[in-house]
């Protein structure tokens, strides 16, 4: 878009979007449509990647337009493309590539990403550590026109069904730990030589979305490097910023709020209703402590989207700058734990025991096993609290024992006897 051309006004966009949504998007009462197909439909009609530049397949508008589009679609009771794969690709990896990728990389990767043709994930955490991400030990070595990757990554969501992973790896072992990292795009197709992707069996006994990857001298073209060599930490910061935003449903990953949990749609979710019905069925609905717990669930369901709306407005007005997504992510994920805690309390023995003919994994007991995943993934609640207190409130940073020390030496110190 040329500098002289102003973006379409919100009002014009809103009426154009309303008309298109009404004619094209399926109702939420219809059978759910494949999110990838829905995404393609948006892309082919100029409504995918609304805040991405047109030259990379986006609509060349703003995050405000994006919010208008999804809010309209939700209010009109239409299906929009959602789900972890698209949320991660479009909400997190897309904006990171946009900020740090070369023109060639963006032209190569972004249109396919925005159309839903390629799903992208992040390859950040390692078996050795999640919160201390800059301590990555996966090795990336330049070899002529290409790079060679070796090591392993863990907790990558959906790697087994994705097409690319953006991988944080160490290129300089003599530099202090944050300054020797690089970011590179790794094709995750089964054909990639030296790559093994395994699903991790989670605490509920299922093979879920989490994966572990092993790289045994995987050769990668040099143009897959995103950002300059040894600037990978800054790329990772961008990625994490968008991850917190996406987890909190703000920014590039915003896809509106389900009308059922919206404050405007009256009383919500099936789930809250289930809690009330469960309490009635067990004869505990007259118990004030049960009532207070159920009310708390409803209060959280109301307060979370309102807080998100406020912060999104603040971001567009400039009153909220920086990593407010951390605050929302903390609120949202800790609230989810409290909801399951309430479900456990309200359902009692029935929530953790079932007969053979009613095997049902979606019960409070099983949910409980995994719910802490939300307060760990994307940066633990403790990391979010560090970010809120240090970056948003300006409190002093944690003292570091590693600052300025070559990473090799940091590792040696860890290995030395106590």
């Amino acid at each position: 878009m040329s500098a002289s051309k102003l973006p379409e006004s919100i009002a014009d966009f809103s009426s154009r979007a309303t008309e298109w949504i009404s004619a094209n998007l399926p109702s939420t009462d219809d059978p759910p449509q494949n999110p990838i197909e829905l995404q393609r439909c948006l892309f082919d009609n100029g409504f995918a990647g609304i805040a991405f530049p047109a030259e990379y397949g986006g609509a060349g508008l703003t995050l405000e337009h994006q919010k208008v589009f999804y809010d309209l679609a939700r209010e009109m009771g239409r299906q929009v493309p959602t789900g972890t794969g698209l949320m991660v690709s479009v909400g997190m990896l897309g904006p990171t590539l946009l900020e740090h990728g070369s023109h060639e990389a963006k032209a190569k990767f972004l249109p396919r990403l925005l159309r839903g043709d390629d799903l992208w994930i992040q390859l950040l955490s390692e078996p050795r550590g999640g919160s201390d991400m800059a301590g990555a030990r996966t090795r990336l070595t330049r070899d002529g026109d290409s790079y060679v990757l070796s090591g392993s990554k863990m907790w990558s969501t959906g790697a087994h069904v994705s097409h690319y992973g953006l991988c944080l790896a160490r290129t300089d072992w003599e530099a202090p730990k944050h300054r020797g990292l690089s970011m590179i795009a790794v094709p995750l197709d089964t054909g990639t030589e030296g790559l093994v992707v395994q699903q991790t069996r989670t605490a509920d006994g299922t093979l879920g979305e989490f994966c572990e990857e092993f790289f045994d001298d995987v050769a990668l073209p040099a143009e897959n490097l995103i950002g300059e060599e040894n600037t990978g930490w800054s790329v990772a910061q961008t990625l994490l910023f968008h991850e917190r935003n996406a987890a909190a449903n703000v920014g590039f990953g915003y896809t509106g709020w389900e009308q059922s949990s919206s404050r405007r749609a009256g009383y919500e979710p099936g789930r809250l209703e289930d809690l009330i019905r469960t309490a009635r069925a067990r004869g505990t609905d007259g118990d004030s402590s049960v009532r207070q717990l159920i009310a708390d669930v409803h209060i959280d369901n109301t307060v979370v989207p309102l807080t998100s709306d406020r912060i999104m407005l603040g971001m567009s007005l400039g009153t909220h700058q920086g990593q407010w997504g951390s605050l929302l992510k903390l609120q949202y994920s800790e609230g989810a734990v409290e909801r399951v805690r309430a479900a456990l309390a309200v359902s009692g023995a029935e929530g953790v025991i079932w007969d053979d003919d009613e095997v049902e994994l979606d019960n409070p007991g099983t949910s409980w096993l995994l719910i802490r995943g939300g307060t760990l993934a994307g940066g633990s609640s403790e990391m979010q609290r560090n970010i809120i207190s240090e970056r948003l409130l300006g409190l002093p940073r944690e003292p570091s024992v590693e600052r300025g020390i070559p990473f090799n030496e940091v590792i040696r110190n860890q290995k030395s006897p106590e």
Binding site: R263, G266, Y267, G270, R271, L272, D274, L275, I276, R277, T278, R280, A281, R282, S288, R291, Q292, I294, A295, D296, H298, I299, V303, L306, T307, D309, R310, I311, L313, G314, L317, L327, L330, Q331, R339, V340, A342, A343, V346, S347, G351, E358, E360, D362, N363, P364, S367, L370, I371, G374, E382, R385, N386, I388, S389, E390, L393, L395, P396, E398
Partner: protein, 418 residues
């Protein structure tokens, strides 16, 4: 207070902030602790000139809002009052002004409204009774028709506006009446013969009225108990229609919660602000105390709660304005639901924030010398007044419960929660 204030609203906020800082700084608040009324009547008239009394009064009677959104205007003021712990009968006077201003026969009370706006007289709302419950079903005081207009004819008589005295007799005792000692009039909510509610404006020097003064945990807010024994009330004293005031009373209660939530937001915002300043300057073990993660993480939680408090408090004010501007826009149960959510959440979290700030402040935080006890006083008073979070949650549960139908054969084990 909303993030997107108009220029008028911003100027108003700055003027209020300056006025409080210069006319009633915290040192003055300390002095007023010994004052029988808790404020100086001359000062209240100054505040009235600044708009503290006029926001809910229609222009025809000398009032006027800044933006046309009267509640959003008023919460700007309420937040500043919370930040500065300003004295004065802000809440009761504005609740009366709103109740009378919105009534079908406001013109009949034009003279009193004018004197309320100028600050010359103070009228307070007498609602709660001995049990201290702020719900319409708790009203036991009675307003009974006497004389020629008996029984069902009372309503007719009221609408006809009989001026020839002694149409009703008022009996009952009202407790927890803010600023009772400073008031010349009270808007009294009482049960009508038809089982509904009526509201009447009663001069407190009328025969049969007795006012007993009292104090509260707050530095400057005084309360009282007002007894009405066979008080003769003219039909012209009715505010609205006899026996038909329940909806109006509910709106007054919702407005009370809105103003109070805004005040609590101001209290928590200011308390966290000065506690962080203190914690940066206070050293222990060679470091500022707020550099310790144990405190930083508590502070991060407080910042998250505070942001959510602001979001829900603003939403309530906006919904109440939307309801006033177009009653068909927002159902009464939606405003009611949000009022319960707001008071439950804001009441609980702001009290917790101030409490945690006392802990971070250390020993001096429980001395008379440090200002924090004054904030703790106001917030803990607000927590209880107009219903505690626990009471609002019980009410909220009943509201939710009434919307959930029973389903036969519910399988408790399938309660989803994540």
């Amino acid at each position: 207070m909303r993030l997107d204030l108009t220029e008028d609203q911003q100027a108003f906020q700055e003027a209020v902030n300056r006025f409080i800082a210069t006319e009633v700084p915290l040192l003055t608040v300390r002095d007023l602790y010994e004052n029988r009324l808790g404020f100086e009547p001359e000062w209240w008239q100054q505040a009235a000139q600044l708009g503290w009394t006029s926001l809910f009064v229609p222009e025809a009677y000398g009032g006027g809002s800044l933006s046309g959104s009267q509640t959003c205007d008023a919460v700007i003021l309420a937040e500043e009052i919370g930040r500065g712990l300003a004295p004065g009968p802000f809440c009761p006077v504005n609740l009366v002004a709103a109740g009378v201003g919105a009534s079908s026969n406001a013109a009949q009370h034009a003279e009193l409204l004018g004197r309320l706006v100028s600050g010359e007289v103070i009228a307070v709302w007498a609602f709660a009774e001995k049990a201290g419950r702020w719900t319409t079903d708790a009203v036991q005081a009675t307003l009974t028709p006497v004389g020629p207009a008996q029984g069902g004819l009372a309503t007719q008589s009221a609408q006809g506006g009989h001026q020839n005295g002694g149409s009703f007799v008022l009996n009952g005792t009202k407790h927890y009446v803010e600023a009772a000692n400073a008031a010349s009039h009270a808007l009294v909510t009482a049960r009508a013969e038809n089982g509904g509610l009526s509201q009447v404006m009663v001069a407190l020097d009328s025969p049969g009225v007795s006012v007993k003064g009292g104090r509260s945990v707050d530095m400057t807010r005084r309360f009282g108990t007002i007894s009405f024994t066979d008080v003769a009330v003219d039909a012209s004293a009715l505010v609205g229609t006899a026996g038909d005031a329940t909806e109006a009373v509910n709106r007054q209660l919702q407005l009370a919660v809105s103003l109070q939530c805004a005040e609590m937001v101001g209290i928590a915002d200011r308390t966290l602000e000065f506690t962080l300043e203190y914690g940066q300057d206070r050293y222990a073990f060679g470091r500022p105390i707020v550099s310790f993660q144990a405190l930083k993480h508590r502070i991060a939680d407080m910042a998250q709660w505070l942001e959510a408090c602001k979001a829900v408090s603003d939403e309530l004010a906006s919904v109440l304005d939307a309801q006033t501007q177009d009653a068909s826009n927002v159902s009464n149960s939606e405003a009611q639901r949000l009022a319960h959510v707001a008071k439950s959440y804001v009441g609980e979290k702001t009290t917790r924030i101030v409490e945690d700030c006392v802990q971070i402040t250390g020993g001096i935080g429980v001395t008379w010398e440090h200002d924090i006890h004054m904030y703790n006083r106001r917030v803990v008073l607000d927590r209880a007044l107009y219903g505690s979070p626990e009471e609002h949650k019980d009410e909220l549960y009943m509201l939710l419960d009434s919307t959930v139908e029973n389903i036969e054969n519910i399988t408790v084990g399938t309660v989803g929660a994540a």
